[in-house]
Amino acid sequence: MSACSAYNDEKGGSSNTGEPEYGHDPASGGIFSSDYKRHDDLKEMLDSNKDSLKLEAMKRIVAMIARGKNASDLFPAVVKNVACKNIEVKKLVYVYLVRYAEEQQDLALLSISTFQRGLKDPNQLIRASALRVLSSIRVTIIVPIMMLAIKEAASDMSPYVRKTAAHAIPKLYSLDPDQKDQLIEVIEKLLADKTTLVAGSVVMAFEEVCPERIDLIHKNYRKLCNLLIDVEEWGQVVIINMLTRYARTQFLNPNHNESLLEESAEKAFYGSDEEETEEKDEKEEVAALAKRKPYVMDPDHRLLLRNTKPLLQSRNAAVVMAVAQLYFHLAPKAEVGVIAKAQVRLMRSHSEVQYVVLQNVATMSIKRRGMFEPYLKSFYIRSTDPTQIKVLKLEVLTNLANETNISTILREFQTYIKSMDKDFVAASIQAIGRCATNIGEVRDTCLNGLVQLLSNRDELVVAESVVVIKKLLQMQPAQHSDIIKHMAKLTDNIQVPMARASILWLIGEYCEHVPKIAPDVLRKMAKSFTNEEDIVKLQIINLAAKLYLTNSKQTKLLTQYVLNLAKYDQNYDIRDRARFIRQLIVPTEKSGVLSKYAKKLFLALKPAPVFESPFKDRDHFQLGSLSHLLNAKATGYQELPAWPGMAPDPSVRNVEVKEAVPEWTKCSSREKRKEKVEKPFYSDSEGESGPTESADSESELPSEMESGGGSESEEGGSGSGSEESDEGSESGKEKKKKPEKIKVRKTLPESAESELSGEEEKRKRKERKASSESSSEEEEESSSESSSSESESEEESESEPETKKKKKISLSKPVPKQPKKEISLLDLDDFIPTPSPQVTPINNIVSNSLATDLQGLSLTDSALSPTMISPSFSSVKTYELLHRITGEGLAVEYCFSRQPYSLDPHMVAVQIQFSNNTDTEAKSLRIQEPKLMSGMRMQEFPEIEVLAPGETVTVVMGIDFCDSTQAANFQLCTQTRKFYVSIQPPVGELMMPVFMSENEFKKEQGHLMGMNEINEKLTMGEKCQSDHAIVQRVTSAANLSRVPCGSDREYRFAAKTVASGSLVLVTVVTKEGMAAQLTVNCEKMVIGTMLVKDILQALSQ
């Protein structure tokens, strides 16, 4: 119904409502009826006491607003209905009010009292919506009322109302900027809020009102980091962007040394020598400085990086981009790589998203080329891409080009040149030019290719090639006089002015290389001078001048003719130039000084042009921002500050104990009085946000726990250096608090559930205290347990050498994680029967999700089979399958890629690389007559139809070796020849890594004793001293994954064989001196024995 009514209003279409007709039929309605008359019916409907009529009228009015029609004269009639009972009418009235209040300020005031009443409503949602509409009415008179309402709402007990208050802040600020100081107070208050619901909105308000007040963030920094993952997606974007700026002012540059090195290298590439030496001086200075002070990352800096990383997996492109820019601007160089994958993923999205992402990738790929190199092929262009996407992809491809991949890239470019999209072809030609200037090896190839394009039928293509060739030739003109000659001939055909101008410039510049042709070209040009474009005319004058100086005998008259023509040209630039040049080159009595130097002026050696990416140096804008995209500062853009030279005091982020705890302590002494205030604290901040946190991120216990309840204080302690004393006093307090809390529970039965999480945390925390660990230590431990990636934990431990020592000590006595969980589960069971009916569903979620999460955490859970993981480490050894000489030019190599073979999980993936070194095509490469031991199977790679000369192709085949090191023999056939080859796997490649916990490892090891265990003593090699070296040696010898281990003298690894899935467990225990003991447990003794041999060899080398 709304459908018809919306479009009938102009015709007064009340026929479907049963209203009397209002005297204008559809035919005359649109043109002659005046506005007020047309709206009469609406007014009458609004005044009626039937809700359905009012609704109908409002719908039609809203439809008018939607189409941009003016409905302001209905204001009095509409505003009367602001207190209407019907909720839809009310909402539509709000829509109308917000739209027109600015124009009808006096009348709008009539509605204010309704909202003021709404602000006092017991229902939080009504309070929120009243505040929302009230703050949206842009009438200056009500500023004090709004201010009051916001202040009140900011301390409302409902987080939803507080969120609305945060939203209202920028509205009021835009209405009256004088209120800034008061608003900052409100922002400060709301920033301290602990609920995820408020966090995003208040940071948004902060960014709009007072982005320069970075000091307000200090105290909330750690909380924001910890809440981040649970904040709604839009809030995440705003918070991450703000934190990027914050981190830039508070932490030291993690890449201080690298970035300078890199920069100087880049400068050397583009810039002149002078700069380089300067840079060197600076570099030395910095190096000296760095020596004095080794860089240690601030734990808060690490916290930010760690807590944002999971958000790379967000479904929201804006969030992913925000994290990517944060890593790009803040992370140590070695860690930035993680964002590449996510960015490439975004490229699958809508074309607008692609457009923005590609812009950012283009900038990043200049600074950090290595990051995107593995994804080169994802930037290949499809004919269906929109032109703007094509051009950006081209940009990225060009940035990624280097000596190793240039041949593939150029081959791609060759297909692009043939595209039907001519703008894109032009861009491709420029890209080729840039590759040629940047990579010396391919310059001649590119030049030849471009010269071939000169005979292209499309004029645009030719013109673009000419322009690019001109630039390339400037680099080494002497060798290419034939190209210049060829281009001289083109002047007869090419009409594109830019190209003509380029050719003329070239001939003029290198006229000594083409002494015969140059004057002839000038002659032709002189003939057509009057019909040329301005840009061409200028170059003709230029050519004439140069020829006059070098070859005045032949060209004197021609030059004068050209100059005379130019003297009377319509364009004043050309007239001006002609006059100038005549004075300069034609010797007269008056012109003295300069004409002597004319030759030097015109024929001076010019530096070769630099093809620069338009994205170079764009990274001084914060990536992902509007300003970066436009390459111009947008209004309201906050500069990304430079890294500070000295780290500001990190203790500003420590949160005082008193500030965080008071609500707990107070409640004990004045329990009854406080009850009212206390209630919201539990039911909202804990009951609503607490559970999510604990449910979603239980495995990262320590860091997440801080976000709940009053545990803020502890966090502050752990970050700073003086935690020992702090913690001591704190744990004392905690003990005191305990009995009090039980009392609280009695008084507030409905908050039992929500309190539970706090309770549980407290207990855990106490236990943790008992084993005297600081939270950061356990964080490390849990991360190394939960995440399978060794590299990460290693990095962490490297960056925090001090904590590592502590870790070793604490880890030697294994932490009793098990009992902790049991306790919490028991607790849950205790509390489930009591919750109040209103919160029941939520409670259920919490308990269930918590339970499952905990279950996931429990490491001995037998239901969980060891999960396979992708290899954490790969240094791939290549073996030769067919030598170049025996293969008559066909060389074949293979390696074990350690990737799972997707077609059959029992097969080992073997990556085979064919390279054709002959100068004929090798056709139909395939496998024939595999001669395999019984039980072995082979999945052949698809036949390679053609392998062009000089090309290399990689394919993957799968072989089921049946867990034996027997060789797989087969014939490798080309169209003409057959070669007998065999692949023999090292024993270490017959397995794939599995992830298991320490406990699982021990349990499994217990099953594999006796005959299945092989012990061997060994002496470590010279270079096997560090942890890293040992792990690396073992993992490169065999495809194993590391298992976390409590002792620092022990290294454990696990894998299972590919074919039969039997477990392989490896333990290396280092002893005094260079001695060590190696233990391998494996059901298959043969494999075990062989593996021992291999690892022994690897370690003792």
């Binding site: 709304s2 739209r99 949602l125 948004m204 839009w234 699958r348 499809r382 703007q388 921002s625 053609v946």
Partner: protein, 418 residues
Amino acid sequence: MIHSLFLVNSSGDIFLEKHWKSVVSRSVCDYFFEAQERASEPENVAPVIPTPHHYLISVYRHKIFFVAVIQSEVPPLFVIEFLHRVVDTFQDYFGVCSEAAVKDNVVVVYELLEEMLDNGFPLATESNILKELIKPPTILRTVVNTITGSTNVGEQLPTGQLSVVPWRRTGVKYTNNEAYFDVVEEIDAIIDKSGSTVTAEIQGVVDASVKLTGMPDLTLSFVNPRLLDDVSFHPCVRFKRWEAERILSFIPPDGNFRLLSYHVSSQNLVAIPVYVKHSISFREGSSLGHFEITIGPKQTMGKAVEGVLVTSQMPKAVLNMNLTCTQGAYTFDPVTKMLSWDVGKINPQKLPSLKGSMSLQTGASKPDENPTINIQCKIQQLALSGLKVNRLDMYGEKYKPFKGIKYMTKAGKFQVRT
């Protein structure tokens, strides 16, 4: 943040405007129209257009431009992502997002936009919350509303926004409890002239349709989770659990949603499901060209290839095509020069082929490039990467749900260069 929104149709009419702050005159769209005119295709309109006082950020979907007006710095992706979310919501509400649908439901659209943004900052974008606030129009409800005068706006105030799981409504009830998961993989590939793969990668999604009573807590595990190289999740998935165990654990939203999208590592492991044999040639000086393509299955693991559609943008010089196909039907649009051949199912015994001649513009020179061939196809019951769901378990509710998993492989951006 977002100041105003204009909806513009392809002929350049503004058919809806909405302002969240003070009113911005619709003349600001003139800058957009200029850009629209300059671009040859609607897809080529730049997504971000700077004007003297504002910035216009637009997305183009369903033949409608959604133009957002921005006044100050904001991450462009923030706006673009939001606009796409608006389109998705419209589609969710009205079935289609077209100009007609928006005009027919203008009031609902307005109410939605009002709820989605507050002062230009996203407020409620989760479809579950929105559906509690504003009920989607159905024919039945429209009829009932007309008779009884009741409304589309939810009588109850929404509680979803206050929940810890904002994506799920409370008190969901079904008589048949079902949870269906579709594993859909798309293969993107570029095949070069000689038939070898230039690049190929698999992108997959797990779409779910969950209709379960109460607050179920699901876990979904894969047989071979290592295949997944890069993943992105619906916010309901517990990330830590995935990190540690490679198990998807989540409280599902009610109804249809995308649980997971993933990328399979682009090693050379990708099996190419179809191949194309082609011979397309233009002769210099002749007004006739030869055209022949044959399509056949390659590595399909024994499954049938269905729904094959071949399209190709022919060069401008081609006036008409005179072809015969052994299967399906073909069309050639002489205006857009688009050839499309609807093949249907491929029978491996008798491969479908399309051949004949092209008539070229007389006098026009031979086109430089042969057209690229785009292929769409699908294979049922197969996930090309080999991904397999191991098991699905439900906790937290007593009943036994009906579970189902379906696999499908589709050709995504599958292009053959000729």
